[in-house]
Symmetry: C2
Subunit: 408 residues, 2 copies
């Protein structure tokens, strides 16, 4: 597995573009992006489980479930196209129509994604002009991938992309990805906007299974604020241009691709948590010793979701009582008197709870550990061998500020 | 139903005291309280469902479940006596022993409650001295009830107490209550510390049923921060000194007492939400038109728990998209295109969403409505006739400040 520069254009045959169409306020912010594959790409996706689904989520779900293959994705930031009724769905369809027309594709080969304010309608004049600019700007360079990764951001503070390569069937296979996160992050079976490309050759049912399985362990283990968005979307496009023989269930190289895909999604998931709205620190919680992997996931996610624990991380306060409390209300049964907790960062590591009560630890050293970024908490409940990791961030004044003012 | 001055001493035969023993830092904060009944009182209680239960929760649960009657409650603030292991439980027992000794009671007639920092051990020298001071200070006056209501507070900004009277079987019956809230408020079948007294004559099984039912609709519909405490406790003591014939299931006056108890618990629940840590406004959400009452509860609670909605209330931003989003991820199925939302406060009321999309409302007027306290959101999903109300508060800089610094 080799890390590479770049993002979604790293795999063969993928092109991207990102530019300013004029949806966002201000004069300089990029707000539209496009991904294009030279040949049809098998596509899998996971989407929000929120009953209230944005128009592009409904559109993409239809394509992923019924067609399973796509050539382009058109994305805008600034407006989520959620809670926009029939008009919103029609606007979404028109985006696909326009993109298909200019790229000479079928409408159902174009996926659509939006992120931003809920409830506002897209200005279709601006959006169609944006699409007209995006198509000629499509390039297969790392710079083009960067532009796209920047254009999909909202309150994110930096772009999130990754690319890596591996060898499958003697061929170089690439996996690239980009995503945006920041707020309303508490994915449920889907996630915020994430786009992953690969030139691997793989069938639709196998890709579906892999994506579903990996998303459960990556994006679905992230929480910034407990709010599950209306727009959560993770799309994975594989165009087969690496030239490997089609990956199948029994293929020994399947593990190589699965590991590559997992590394990409884990990286993006951590990036989202570490760039949560207003956050100063990525907070990673690993639970060991659970009766099952499911229990470990429930406990670690409960801790990263606890407002009180998040505020304590912000305050560099080793308030282990809040961690133990959040473990306790997670819904998993365990013996509180058999819990060990330690903290870890680049400053060192420290056991703060042994058998459910505080060790004789140094508060000063604990504060020093908590002042670094990222911060890890390692929990062991000594019930079995289930382990899992969840990612979140601290709760800060800035989170409140961003979200008290977001629309103004 | 008549409102009265005072709190837990309003019912006949109840005494209270509150004073400073020296558990909390500072020199003036009261930190211990006691309630005493001149005769044995039937007691019911609900407690935290957190797997991690504080020592006094374990102690009280034993008494409520196995004895069903008590004479005194001893309470401290400053230290929660949670996650304190065998030593913590022994300290809790010693509090009961000391109180029983001085009041000439059996140890199992003394309930114990604690609230404050998790993980620290009580200094029993201070606590026992506190009990020695509390016993001679017990009085049946409104001032004594006030002292007790103040002594149980932590980060609360004001005391929370209520008393009212009603007529049952021709006799004046009184119900008094006090509680503390502030942070780690997301009760699950129990609640933070709440103490309710009554001189009504009622049997244990009937009281148990009433309390369980009413707590579900009051304390369990409150959330400040989504964190379910280790110490949640609601105790109801009824000593029968009003002289009414014992209330029974078929008694026509049962509804009168039930209504009185519900008014007391609703008042205390609203007080807790409105005094959530750092909050500037009580946020009340009522959901109408749900297929069932359970669905209405789930939806309204999901909205008061949404960090993004809470931050928007703080920012006086009528961000209805976040409300609809929180309804959508609540787990209840409904048609997003049949949702109506309106906002209401003493400044007026305003329909902001009709059939799932924004009305042509005035943002200025919406901001004016949201600047008052309390603020109400009324949701209608037009699926049936289930209704419910939940209480929460806004998310502010001050919440983060309090909880980043709490232990220092």
């Amino acid at each position: 597995m080799n890390n590479m520069n770049g993002g979604v254009t790293a795999p063969a045959g993928f092109y991207a573009a990102g530019l300013r169409a004029g949806i966002k306020a201000g004069k300089t912010n990029k707000d539209m992006a496009m991904i294009y594959s030279a040949v049809p790409a098998v596509c899998a996706g996971t989407f929000t489980k929120n009953v209230v689904k944005a128009a592009p989520v409904l559109w993409d779900k239809e394509i992923v479930d019924n067609y399973g293959s796509a050539r382009a994705v058109v994305i805008n930031s600034g407006i989520a196209n959620a809670c926009t009724g029939k008009q919103g769905y029609e606007n979404c369809r028109l985006e696909a129509v326009k993109t298909a027309e200019l790229l000479d594709l079928k409408t159902e080969e174009v996926l659509v994604a939006s992120t931003g304010v809920i409830g506002a309608q897209l200005n279709m004049e601006i959006v169609e002009k944006g699409i007209e600019m995006l198509v000629p700007a499509l390039k297969d360079t790392a710079e083009a991938a960067d532009d796209a990764a920047v254009a999909i951001l909202t309150t994110d503070t930096h772009k999130k992309e990754i690319a890596l390569s591996c060898v499958i069937d003697g061929k170089q296979v690439h996996v690239g990805g980009m995503c945006k996160g920041a707020g309303m992050i508490h994915p449920n079976m889907g996630t915020m906007l994430a786009f992953v490309t690969s030139d691997v050759c793989i069938g639709k049912p196998l890709l579906d299974r892999l994506v579903k399985e990996i998303v459960e362990d990556t994006f679905n283990m992230v929480s910034v604020d407990g709010d599950t968005s209306t727009n959560d979307t993770c799309l994975v496009l594989c165009n087969g241009m690496a030239g490997n023989r089609e990956l199948r269930e029994e293929d020994p190289d399947l593990e190589v691709f699965k590991e590559a895909l997992k590394q990409v999604l884990t990286y993006l998931a951590r990036q989202i948590a570490g760039d949560g709205e207003g956050c100063t620190r990525l907070f990673e919680v690993t639970c060991h010793g659970a009766a099952s992997r499911e229990d470990a996931k429930t406990i670690s996610k409960s801790v990263v979701c606890s407002s009180l624990t998040k505020a304590a991380v912000f305050g560099k306060d080793a308030n282990w009582g809040r961690i133990l409390c959040a473990m306790g209300y997670s819904g998993v049964t365990f013996d509180p008197e058999k819990v060990d907790i330690s903290l870890e960062s680049q400053k060192g590591s420290l056991a703060i709870v042994k058998d459910g009560i505080a060790t004789d630890y140094s508060e000063e050293f604990a504060t020093e550990i908590l002042s670094a970024n990222p911060v890890k908490a390692i929990l062991d409940i000594h019930q079995g061998d289930g382990s899992a990791t969840a990612w979140g961030c601290d709760l800060t004044y800035e989170y409140v500020k961003i979200n008290a003012d977001y629309r103004s």
